[in-house]
């Protein structure tokens, strides 16, 4: 994949806007549907917030890198890399979506969104880094 955007910052909430903007600017060039653009933004936000909240627990925030490109003219691929604790976010079981209000946990939905809005997401641990690849279809409406 040839990266059309490539941004590295400290993994802090302050930088979330800059990181998401880099994806948004690529997505705007190749996605016509406003709804689909928001899906892309949602995938990027959830994946980044997950890294910001959990990757560097107990220590100073390390770096997060986000790259974005187009694959086979059909996919917008977001790749997120951090050097935090090993964590395969895709292995997290889905939340119970039918639980009543009082029993619904307040977490876990972000990862669920990330999985639902991408096709064939891949996690790998390589050279002490977590690498998460999130392909979003350019054309398709979300499979509901």
């Amino acid at each position: 994949m040839k990266a059309l955007s490539d941004v590295t910052t400290r993994a802090t909430l302050d930088n979330l806007g800059v990181l998401i903007d880099s994806v948004r600017s690529v997505a705007k060039e190749c996605i016509a549907s406003p709804r689909r653009l928001l899906d892309v933004e949602l995938v990027a936000e959830e994946a980044l917030v997950n890294v910001i909240s959990h990757a560097y627990q107990g220590g100073p925030a390390g770096e997060v890198r986000i790259r974005c490109g187009i694959r086979d003219r059909r996919w917008l691929v977001i790749e997120i890399v951090d050097s935090g604790v090993p964590f395969d976010v895709l292995s997290v079981p889905p939340p119970d979506l039918d639980a009543p209000v009082m029993e619904r946990p307040t977490g876990g939905l972000g990862i669920h969104f990330m999985k639902r809005l991408t096709d064939g997401a891949v996690y790998r641990r390589e050279g002490g880094r977590n690498i998460l690849e999130l392909p979003v279809r350019l054309d398709a409406p979300t499979d509901m």
Binding site: L13, L16, G17, R35, L38, D39, E41, L42, E45, E46, V49, L97, D98, P100, V101, M102, R104, T106, G107, L109, G110, H112, F113, R116, L117, T142, M144
Partner: protein, 112 residues
């Protein structure tokens, strides 16, 4: 991002305008919690002006709903559409909460 509130009979209508993401949702949370602190028992959240919502926004809505439930209050939504509707559907929130087509129809039901 802002929240406008008004009272219609016993129903408090909170209209969310803008985005509820990881950076902005705390502002909405503050407003909703202060409404709860004032003892409101019927809360209608109007999402007509909501442009974007992520799991951070849903967490705020769920936390508000839990507090409302604890005191046997009622919380419902109106004007769910587009992206916000999709997010409600994927998260199961759409079947978890009562969602009205409009503020008017909600007030008709809740104001009784």
């Amino acid at each position: 991002m802002k929240v406008e509130t008004k009272k219609e009979n016993e129903v408090t209508v909170a209209t969310v305008i803008g985005r509820m993401d990881a950076l902005t949702t705390s502002e909405v949370e503050r407003t909703l919690m202060s409404l709860l602190d004032q003892g409101e028992m019927k809360l209608l959240i109007d999402l007509d002006g909501l442009d974007y919502i992520s799991s951070a926004g849903l967490r705020t809505l769920l936390a508000t709903a839990k507090r409302m439930k604890q005191r046997s209050g009622i919380m419902a939504f109106a004007n769910l559409k587009g992206h916000a509707k999709e997010v409600f559907e994927i998260s199961g929130f759409y079947s978890l909460f009562t969602v009205y087509d409009s503020v008017e129809s909600a007030l008709e039901q809740l104001g009784r």
